[in-house]
Symmetry: D2
Subunit: 208 residues, 4 copies
Amino acid sequence: MDPITKLIEEFAHFPGVGPRQARRFAYYLLTRNADTLKEFTEALAKAKKTVGACISCYRLFSSGNTKTTHCMLCADTHRDTSLLMVVAHDVDVESVEKSSGYRGYYFVLGGTVPILETKPEERIRLKKLSSRVKEATGKGLKEIILALDLNPEGEHTGNFLTHSLAPLVKEHGIKISLLGRGLSTGTELQYSDPDTIKNALSNRAPAK
Amino acid sequence: MDPITKLIEEFAHFPGVGPRQARRFAYYLLTRNADTLKEFTEALAKAKKTVGACISCYRLFSSGNTKTTHCMLCADTHRDTSLLMVVAHDVDVESVEKSSGYRGYYFVLGGTVPILETKPEERIRLKKLSSRVKEATGKGLKEIILALDLNPEGEHTGNFLTHSLAPLVKEHGIKISLLGRGLSTGTELQYSDPDTIKNALSNRAPAK
Amino acid sequence: MDPITKLIEEFAHFPGVGPRQARRFAYYLLTRNADTLKEFTEALAKAKKTVGACISCYRLFSSGNTKTTHCMLCADTHRDTSLLMVVAHDVDVESVEKSSGYRGYYFVLGGTVPILETKPEERIRLKKLSSRVKEATGKGLKEIILALDLNPEGEHTGNFLTHSLAPLVKEHGIKISLLGRGLSTGTELQYSDPDTIKNALSNRAPAK
Amino acid sequence: MDPITKLIEEFAHFPGVGPRQARRFAYYLLTRNADTLKEFTEALAKAKKTVGACISCYRLFSSGNTKTTHCMLCADTHRDTSLLMVVAHDVDVESVEKSSGYRGYYFVLGGTVPILETKPEERIRLKKLSSRVKEATGKGLKEIILALDLNPEGEHTGNFLTHSLAPLVKEHGIKISLLGRGLSTGTELQYSDPDTIKNALSNRAPAK
């Protein structure tokens, strides 16, 4: 295959990239001067070389030139050891951190469980989660927060985890909780779906 | 002014209608045959003639040929008299009814209070709401649910109402509550704004 | 049927209006004060009463309180009698007038011919067009411009007209022409479809 | 800077890529297995190594392992030597080729001239174009087609080229032409801008 076409194909595999954008990316890179291109390839090589999964939460992080095995968040001993939040993807951690509403630890599943999946344990890091939970019980873990997308696959994954972790949480007296449901910021009542309104009603709270 | 231009202008006042759509509406009506046009004008005349505000919740309803003064929902004696939901607009009532999650009564404010408004009582039916609340206390009212859009103007209106109704609710031992906040149906965590995540975290609930 | 629902249904027949917008329109009108509503219904009544088809070009126009039978454009004796432009709809006339590039007369077909239509003459004003052409030949008509949308139905209508008018134009030595094809304003070459580029190439013109 | 952040920044420089998509790209690459990542970096390296500008039309092409200096199109001796089409970007060549409406040669300017640019000759390959034109005159060049976007910058570039090439084309009796303007495929008359309609009118052609 022609090398330009091959490069375009590589970009076409990127998430959310169509053939036209893939072509633009390829031409963009090929028309950079040598230095710019080198900077890109070096950034990629360096990232790949220094990046690894945190052995506690399993999200990607860069250890730089050190031999650190824990990401910055898991290495932070000032966080709340009673809370462990389970999320599907690395980016979810960043979204939660941006909200400044959480001070506990995280665990990244690495995916979700499709509804008809017969081998759910191959889709997510279930065993590693169990180990992480056991380890955390020794440090005062009281609540596991399942922070999953509010769509069918997210809900299915939540149910699967609740079921799978049931013996463990029972043994150690840990709570499993779900993110609250209701109106999200910017919601207009007249355009809300029935489920959201129902959730907003049953989760209503005293006005301050 | 040319009568066609005048009609186009009328349609241009409709909510969300630009000049191009207004023109299409005018030509659409003018090119109907006589019967279709008559049907439209009669529907409009009949609606206007039989439609009025419910004297209890103030939403529009059609009394048909009767002298009914209450809309179907306010006339329904099987609903829960302990609950009164305050909404901004007529359409909000329909959205909440569709959710099948509510069995109490309604009150339509007829608007919201803009943040810098100096005469908020002219924007919404505040006096009528006070009267309605007083009347409802005689029938067991226990909770007023402020069901407003989750945007700055909706929140401001909620604060204004909470403040304005404070003496009344104190006197009669009524609670004021707000719709629950958190993830709405379909929400993906990574695209959620910080406020929504914060709300979803503080409103988290035990997994079942 | 409930009069409000009936009115909403009427609006739902308007071009490009969905159920939600239809509802907004109905509530918008019903919540106007009496004067505003009267203004709307009067504008509609007056437009309907004074509007009729021009007996020359067949587009809608308002004769006001006069007994005029010709629209302003057809009544204008300073336009170029050698040119007759055939368009599908009333609004097309306005678009062409806005371009200030045309000084001849118009004829409005009142529609286009779908590709599989077996009775094309029932879809458009073919007989009236023939009469109009005959009449115009007495006043120096030299060219009929078919100004139709550049899509399959527009092209099909153009072919049908070219064929149908063939004897007439032959007899009177009239040309039939089509709008030029090529790049429209704002076109970027890389996003252009092959047909447009082909047309732009075969219609290329000397740079000035 | 953290290597992941650095890689995200690199992607954020890609055309049309925002910070969120840049992050997704970085995580996408970093979570691939070693083979996939290697395939990407090798495709990039190989493309960069074998890709160069054609010494005739200046578009990028891959010479593979050969020492070819001409791209496939310029190396094709069966094309029409009387035509030279000037385009702004590499991708424009592909669009024109897809239209199957052109059999001459190309020249890629490598950009366009912004309207207020004081040094236009630094934005595009003007000198190289002059040389190319001179060379082509020896092989029967009769027409230079300026195939530029139909927007202000494209038109400005066309004017600049027409002016700059004037002495040369005069000397050798070459025509400069522009792509035809008018309705592009799919255009509906009622939504067309005045300029497009004006162009379509002045470029109208006999119906067949």
